[in-house]
Each structure stands twice: as C-alpha cells, then as structure tokens.
C-alpha cells in the first residue's frame, strides 16, 4: 500500500501541471473528450458537486467485474456526486465505449482520455481506480474502489474495506479521507502504447 498526501488541484495549478508534463512542442489542446468528441473538463462541469472519476479498460476483466458495484455506489449518490467513467486507452473509440457501457448496464457518462490529462490529475496507475474530488476540486482520495482483489487473479469472496464509499462520505462531510490513496489491483493504464 502506498499513501500519498492529498493535493490541491486548482484550475491554475492544474494548468501549470499540464504545461510541465506535456510534451514540448505539442500544440494540441490537452483535454478529455465526451463520447460525442467534445472537449470536457469533468471538474468544471460538475457545478460544485463531488466528482468521482472511475478509470476503466474494456479489456481488463477486473475493471469489468466492478460494473455493478460502480453503478450501485453511483446510484446511492445520484443527487450529490457526479460520476464519470474514464477510458484512458489511446486507441479507444466513442463507439466501442458506448457499446461497453450498454453491455455492462452503465447509466453513467463515459469519457475518453487519450492524452492522460485526467490520468495525471487523478494520479491513476491501473484500472479500475477511482479519484474523488471534493466541492473545491481537491483530490480527496485516489486508488482502489475496495479490497475485493488481494492481488492480480486473487479476489476475496467479498471486499472487507470500501474506500470509494468512505471517500465519498468524507468529501460530502468536508473531512479528509484516511488513507488518501491506496494502490489499485488490476491492469496498468498503458504508458507504452
């Protein structure tokens, strides 16, 4: 388990961070896209609600197995938390994502993040991982959803910790989440594509 300090992500800070991490000479706008191809900033679009970014890979069975759990937690907080399903694979298309969301019964919006703008913002490394931002766009928690998977290929009969739910409760109450980060088990968000 690795614990990182909570970081504040203001608009300005985020912009600077991107500028630093972006490849030199790249003029292309660094942004995530909705499934219609429009540029989206999920934090700005949340209108001050709590935001949860869920990082998924279609070809990662661990992320897929979480679909009912993610859908359930999001339904429990329909009014006060905005969920986004983020697909960071560069080769992913809106069409394949749309089909996936339909197959797995998601009623949540999908985003493409080919430039890993949100991946960096959320410090995501694997799928499935989540990032929870509070009303002030502070990253309250990032990492695993719960401890269902002990390690790759070894799920418990049922999870015994529930980090995502706890982090949402903490964010709603305006309290810090401890721990603020727990490494996820699943599939690497590829950096070698």
């Amino acid at each position: 388990m690795r614990v990182r300090p909570t970081i504040a992500v203001s608009g300005l800070f985020a912009a600077m961070l991107f500028a630093c991490l972006g490849q030199p000479g790249l003029v292309q706008a660094q942004t995530a896209f909705d499934l219609e191809g429009k540029s989206v900033d999920p934090l700005a679009a949340a209108g001050g609600k709590i935001v949860v970014l869920v990082f998924l890979r279609r070809d990662c069975p661990v992320s897929s197995r979480y679909a009912p759990i993610i859908q359930k937690i999001s339904s429990e907080h329909e009014d006060d938390v905005r969920f986004w399903l983020v697909f960071p694979n560069k080769t992913e298309t809106s069409k394949t994502i749309q089909k996936y969301l339909q197959d797995y019964g998601y009623r949540l919006l999908g985003l493409r993040d080919p430039e890993h703008v949100l991946v960096k913002l959320a410090q995501a490394e694997t799928t499935p991982e989540v990032a929870v931002f509070d009303h002030n766009r502070h990253l309250v928690y990032h990492g695993r959803i719960d401890n269902w998977y002990v390690e790759f290929g070894r799920p418990r009969p049922a999870p015994t910790t529930h980090e995502l739910s706890d982090a949402i409760e903490a964010a709603l109450a305006g309290k810090p989440m401890t721990p603020s980060a727990v490494k996820g088990v699943g599939c690497y968000i590829s950096d070698l594509e």
Partner: protein
C-alpha cells in the same frame, strides 16, 4: 430366471476429473530465449526475444474466442500490455501454473523459466522495442473449433445458464443425456465449457445410473452445487480425469485406454463460473470421439482424503491434515488432481517407495482454487506394491488469509459448499505387473482403500459400505453381511444398503431374511428399480409368480427399457400359463437387446410349448 443383481455398489465423491493438457503448439523456443538472456546483446527486442516466449506461453489462451480477455498475437497487442505482462510474469500469476518445480515432470508444464521472465522485464525496461522484422518468428497457428476435428457425437446443454453480473462464484452442473443405443468406447472427450472467459474450470462426472438428473427442477435445466456424489450400482470405478481449464486441449487416450460409455449414462459437467460484471449466457457442449478399440488397460482413480479431520478452529494459521495409503499392487501413476477450497494453503503429496526413496508427487506452495487443475505426468511413474502415498495439506483459517470466506474467521468443517473445506487428492493409477488369472487388481485396490477408510473413520457409512460391497464381490458373503449390518446401524433408512444386504443374503440362500430388507428398501424408496427386480426374483424362486410378475412390472415402470426385467417378467408369466403375454415380453426383451440369451432361449421353449398345445 436371471440371477439377482449383486449390487457391488460403491459410493464415490463427485470428482473433477480430467485430462488436462496445455497446448504447446510451438516447440524449441526455450533454448533460443535463454541464450538471448545470457548474451551481451545491447537491446532486447520483441521480434527476436519476446515473441517466441509470448507465442509459446501465452497465445494459446490470449487469442480470439479463448479464455483470456485480450489477444497477444502481435507486437501491438503485446506492447499495449507490456507493463502488465512484466508484472504478472514476475509474480508468476501468469501463465497460471501452481506446482513448484520437482523431479517428476508434468506434461505441458506452463512454468516460465527464470531467464525468460528476466528477459521480459528487461524488454519492458528498455522501452518495449519491436526490433528487426527479419527476426520475427512465424505467427503461431491454432486449430479453430473442435480441436480434434468434428467429434463423432456432439452434446450441447439443453438450457443455457444465465450467469448473473455479480455475486460470488457460481457452481453449476449441466446434465447431458447420451443418445447412444449401444455401448461405445471413447478415445477422447473435448469439453467446450461455453464462454471460456467466465468458466474457471469444468469437469465431467460419469453418471451411469442417470441419478443426478433427478436434481434438475425440470429436464435439461441443470442444477447448482460445487461437489457431487454419485452412487454406483456396479463395480465400475471411475478411471479417467475429464477436466477442462483455460488452455486445455483435448487429450487422446493411448490405445487400449478408452473410456467405456454405456447406453443410459449421463455426463454431468460440473462448472465453476465467475461473474463478469454483466449477464453472461453459458451453454457448454461436449464432443465425444469414439474408437473401435476396446479398453485393455484399466486405470482407476484412487482417492486419498481426510475430511473428518477438517475441523479448523477460527484463527488457526497452519492447520495440518494428512492421509496415508499403502499400495497393495504395483501401479503406474498417470495423473494427479489435488482439491481443497479457499483455506487450502500448502498442498503436497509424496510417495515413499519400498526401497526408502521419497518422491514428491506434487507440491503447490500457494494453493489457489481458481486455478485448480489435473496434472498429468510426462512419463508414467512406477509406484511398486508397498509404496506409501501421503497427502499433506496445510490450511489457513486466520484473517491473514485474504481468501478466507468468513470475516472474521469462523470454525470451518468439511462440506460441499465453497465456504466449507475439503481435503481430497485423486490419483489416476494403472495397475501393472499383475497376474490376469488372479483377482482384478482394481478390486484389490478398492478393498484396501475401503479397509483403510474404515480404520480411519470407524463410523463412516461410506467406508463400511464400500468394504461390504468389495467383500460381497469377492464372495466373502458372511463378512459382507456383517459389514452391511454395521452400515445399517449407521444409516438404517438407506434403501440402497437394504437392497445390497438383501442381495448378499439371497446369494447365501437366506431368502426369508432377504425379503425383510427388500421390503424395507421399497418402503423407503417405492420407485427403486433394483429392489423391485430383486424382490421379483426372490418371489419367483419361491414359486410366487403372481407376486414376481407384479414386482417386475413395477421395475419396468421405473426402467422401461431393461431387457432383464422384461425377460424375467416373461418367464414369470410363462410359469403362470399366460403364454401369449409372456411371448410379447420375451419379444420386447429381444427388441431392447437382440443378444439377450435368456429371452431367446425362453422364447424358443415357449414357442415349442405353444405349438405342442
């Protein structure tokens, strides 16, 4: 009149059996990559160094329509998952192979050599370079569809299972009636378990009495359950391990080792399924490949177990269970199949030969039910008479075992649910160096095993029952009757035992006593074919042909296509002077089995008698 059914019955635990073979479609790559790891080449490349490893060790499952979630057939495929591959090979989660290296080699071992793992790490560290196209190995070739060509008989589950999107693992059984009109020899079985991505393993149980289908809510619906037991009416020990896990290619039995499949047998496919996040349709099929070569070598499955010792206190970390069995005959060990549930941790079996040498048969240091498998030895392992085989399983019922189904931990006993535990080990053995004029060595094994189990569990119903059945088969009828008395003290209300006791008494000529047990069996189970049949024979032997014909009719209501019952009904009716009716039953017996000699002889005699009238 046909003799009574001896009912040398045997009970066996539902077992997961199988010839599991992992395809190794590509040979001769290990040397190449090992060499690469040791050389001073500046850079590891995909085409030269990595592709041969991936194509050999991963691609068989990582390709379309196979068990793995993504393909690993091209540089682009592999690069996309490079870091993941580096990690899961380093931790040895992939390829899935649980046994530690040992002297006795398994066929189609999936364990990656250390050098290959190191090479993969280096390749990823170096930036996952593709390398020169000229270094690229040929694309792997796979057979699509049925691996051994079109099977002689394809059985498909009548009703698919809809696997729910979430929840705990599902254990589901599909029943496949076999539409064959006569006995067939089977040289290979291919299991296609449905959508391979969601089936963790599957194994076939041979249900020679069509008993398990009674558990289906409606015919073809299948039924839930992780572990099954089948009661067998004749001495017909299971002989083959018919098992599927991801990557398995069907195994063709060597000449003379075919599996006998009788008319009226069901195959029951026991599957372990994992929810995927969305509903999945699972509809397995089984392909059978027949041969005209009958079995001349008769292997047998030996089970070591010690479930009664499984009473694991909550919080116990290193709970040890052992069982030991000394072989009464020389055998070749062909395959091994260990089985425990989620508390199993360190799973071991070893053999101490009469000359004192010890051989590890299998050692799985970190058991994982999800990757359980049948392991076939690369070469048969000779275990001479007097070899002591030991199983040694260690269980972890503490909260440090993340797979513990109970949080907080609770006392766990043996049982069939996944939250219960098991301590089983199956060995597929082929008796060798025996005198064919002597008793069938499988019966010697079975009797020795039954005695061992009675010693181990003096109050165990099944152990006493199996011993009684073996004694009866051996012709030691008085001993058998004594054993059946013990069995009936444990379970007085078991119809099968009452019937078996009766058949032993009948063989001793003690009909008066036998009738009591047969009536008891029928009171417990009015639809019990065997008991009706035996009671019919008993009544006929006492010249009560009216009563006998009634019993044979009752038997035929249960099994309308039993040629013996038809022939015996004909005989009883003939004795009653009902010739026309008798004739129709002899004829029907001959339609069911044209070679039925008793029906043929009696029919001829009846026709002579009728013509003399």
């Amino acid at each position: 009149m046909n003799s009574s059914r001896s009912n040398c019955a045997r009970w066996l635990s539902g077992l997961a059996v199988g010839a599991c073979i992992l395809a190794s479609a590509f040979g001769g790559r290990a040397a190449q990559s090992t060499q690469a790891a040791n050389s001073n080449r500046p850079q590891v490349t995909f085409n030269r160094d990595i592709a041969p490893i991936i194509f050999h060790a991963c691609a068989n499952c990582h390709r379309p329509r196979e068990a793995a979630p993504f393909s690993l057939l091209t540089f682009t495929d592999v690069k996309k998952h490079a870091r993941q591959i580096a990690e899961v090979t380093r931790t040895r989660n992939m390829p899935p192979w649980l046994p530690a290296p040992q002297e006795l080699k398994f066929a189609d071992e999936m364990r990656l050599p250390d050098a290959e793992i190191a090479l993969i790490q280096k390749w990823v560290d170096d930036g996952a370079v593709e390398g020169a196209a000229s270094d690229s190995p040929p694309q792997p070739k796979f057979v699509e569809g049925w691996q051994l060509g079109t099977p002689d008989l394809i059985l498909t589950a009548e009703k698919p299972l809809v696997l729910p999107p979430q929840g705990t693992d599902t254990y589901w059984n599909f029943v496949f009636p076999i539409p064959i009109q006569e006995m067939r020899w089977v040289k290979a079985v291919e299991i296609r378990p449905g959508d391979k991505r969601y089936v963790h393993h599957a194994n076939i149980l041979i249900d020679r009495g069509e008993l398990l289908r009674r558990r289906e809510a409606e015919p073809g619906a299948g039924f839930g359950g992780m572990e099954l037991r089948i009661e067998s009416q004749v001495f017909d020990p299971d002989s083959h391990l018919l098992f599927w896990k991801p990557g398995t290619v069907p195994y063709v039995e060597p000449d003379g080792m075919a599996l006998r499949l009788d008319k009226g047998t069901d195959l029951v496919l026991n599957t372990h399924l994992q929810p995927s996040g969305k509903p999945e349709i699972i509809q397995p099929s089984i392909g059978l490949y027949f041969t005209s070569q009958p079995a001349t070598k008769l292997p047998m499955l030996l089970q070591l177990e010690n479930d009664t010792k499984l009473d694991i206190p909550a919080g116990t970390k290193g709970f040890l269970v052992t069982d030991e069995f000394t072989l009464p005959v020389d055998v070749q060990l062909l395959a091994i199949y260990p089985h425990a549930h989620y508390l199993g941790k360190d799973i071991q079996a070893f053999a101490v030969l009469p000359n004192g040498t010890s051989k590890t048969l299998i050692h799985i240091p970190q058991w994982n039910l999800n990757w359980q498998a049948v392991y076939r030895y690369a070469e048969p392992v000779l275990l001479p008479k007097g070899t002591r085989v030991t199983l040694r399983y260690v269980y972890d019922n503490s909260d440090e075992n993340p797979l513990n189904p109970n949080q907080p931990p609770q006392r766990v006993l043996a049982g069939n649910r996944s939250s219960d535990e098991m301590c089983h080990l199956w060995l597929q053995v082929l008796p060798v160096n025996y005198d064919p004029a002597q008793r069938d060595p499988r019966m010697v094994l079975q009797e020795t095993l039954a005695r061992h189990n009675v010693e181990k569990n003096p109050n165990d119903f099944e152990a006493h029952y199996n011993l009684a059945a073996m004694l009866q088969e051996k012709g030691h009828l008085d001993d058998a009757v004594r054993e059946y008395e013990t069995v009936l003290r444990i379970h007085p209300d078991d119809a099968v035992v009452n019937n078996a006791m009766a058949s032993a008494l009948l063989a001793l000529g003690r009909a008066e006593q036998a009738v009591v047990y047969l009536r008891a069996a029928l009171k417990i189970r009015p639809d019990y074919f065997e008991a009706h049949y035996n009671l019919g024979n008993l009544m006929a032997s006492q010249d009560d042909f009216e009563g006998a014909s009634e019993q044979f009719r009752a038997a035929l209501r249960e099994q309308p296509n039993d040629a013996n019952a038809e022939a015996n009904l004909g005989s009883a009716l003939a004795e009653l002077g009902k010739f026309a009716e008798a004739k129709s039953h002899f004829e029907r017996a001959l339609r069911i089995d044209p070679h039925h000699s008793l029906a043929k002889e009696n029919l001829e005699e009846l026709q002579r008698a009728m013509s003399q009238r």
